[in-house]
Symmetry: C2
Subunit: 217 residues, 2 copies
């Protein structure tokens, strides 16, 4: 793996894991020293992270993890919803092999067990898995990629609200409805259900950010 890729992965992982607090500024040279390489590959990795909306690059101030305000969350959720609903519609249009929906079923069952075990992190991982599987079913690689970068952007916020929200029982029901509609071959119902699910999720997240006064994450 090239140094650029190393830097990209390492920095991205750290940002998603909230190891660099949003708003903090880090100089290119400091990153390079930390990663044990020169500034060149670090800069190239930073450009990619910038294009994905994860960092800002401010001359003489280095990289700055983009703090997301509630309005940003709203924007991101609007786009993400549109993409996922489209994915559901596309998925419903494809021929339904017996095991097509298995990844969804597996993820959904994982969500249920994790929740029963009060393993919230595990639930969040299974939830993400469900959404990724759904996007993959669209068969549209660009759709998958764009949704993934948006999901990355809200990852921090999702993680911090994970323990502030009520147990995601409703959420699981909503996922199940999407899956059942797909299984029944009813694309319209599936899309509608998913649209409602995304709408509720966004509403919940935004209310939490507002209630707990988390102006930017």
């Amino acid at each position: 793996m090239s140094y650029v890729q190393q830097a990209y992965r390492t920095l991205k992982d750290r940002i998603l894991a909230n190891r660099y607090p949003p708003g903090q500024q880090i100089l290119e040279q400091a990153l390079a020293d930390d990663l044990g390489m020169s500034r060149t590959p670090v800069r190239e990795a930073l450009i990619r992270l910038h294009d994905e909306g994860l960092v800002e690059l401010i001359p003489r101030r280095g990289m700055r993890v983009v703090p997301l305000a509630p309005e940003d969350m709203q924007e991101i959720y609007e786009v993400l919803s549109a993409l996922e609903v489209a994915a559901v519609e596309l998925a419903a249009r494809r021929p339904l092999e017996p095991d097509t929906l298995q990844p969804l079923e597996d993820a959904l069952q994982a969500m249920e067990t994790r929740l029963a075990d009060d393993d919230l992190d595990g639930w969040a991982r299974a939830d993400a898995r469900f959404h990724r599987a759904l996007l993959a079913l669209s068969g549209n690689r660009r759709l998958v990629a764009m949704a993934a970068t948006l999901a990355d952007q809200v990852h921090r916020a999702r993680m911090t609200t994970l323990r502030l929200r009520p147990r995601p029982v409703k959420s699981i029901e909503e996922h199940r409805e999407v899956l059942e509609a797909l299984r029944a071959g009813d694309g319209e119902r599936a899309a509608g259900a998913h649209r409602r699910h995304r709408h509720n999720a966004a509403r919940l997240l935004l209310d939490l950010l507002n209630y707990y006064r988390l102006p930017h994450l």
Copy 2:
């Protein structure tokens, strides 16, 4: 303007103008010589163009303008449709000031005059303007940006099919229906109309590519 920005804009313009034939490979050093700068800023610009899906970067072969196959076009149109339809829905949800829809009206009238003058390039510009204005009405900056990169990707194909297709009379009608529905405050009708419009546009483009055996543009 920095050299990176210069390189980015120049290369992007050339790619969209079809000055670099798709598939052709150009070495980093050749680009740098051509642009009168060193490889460093060229490389950084290439990374951005790569992230936008316009070029591939092949070690020891340099940059390669991504040739788009019909399946790629289909993918791009699927995503672009989803984003624009979402934009219409968001736009319909906003308060309707008297001059909110003026940019759309202006673009639409421009489309009509250009078409009456048989100015196809002018029509294409006005069409693009309409779609940009529509996206802007969503008030969602990320939505606008993502749609713009997708529109850039299909730009070459649109230009080459511009003179192979019948006169876009139907297209203008479809735009007008979207505008009228927005004016009437009927978001659902507007979204539906735009969805049909995008569907028709994609179908037309793909049929043309198929009919004229243009396997990758």
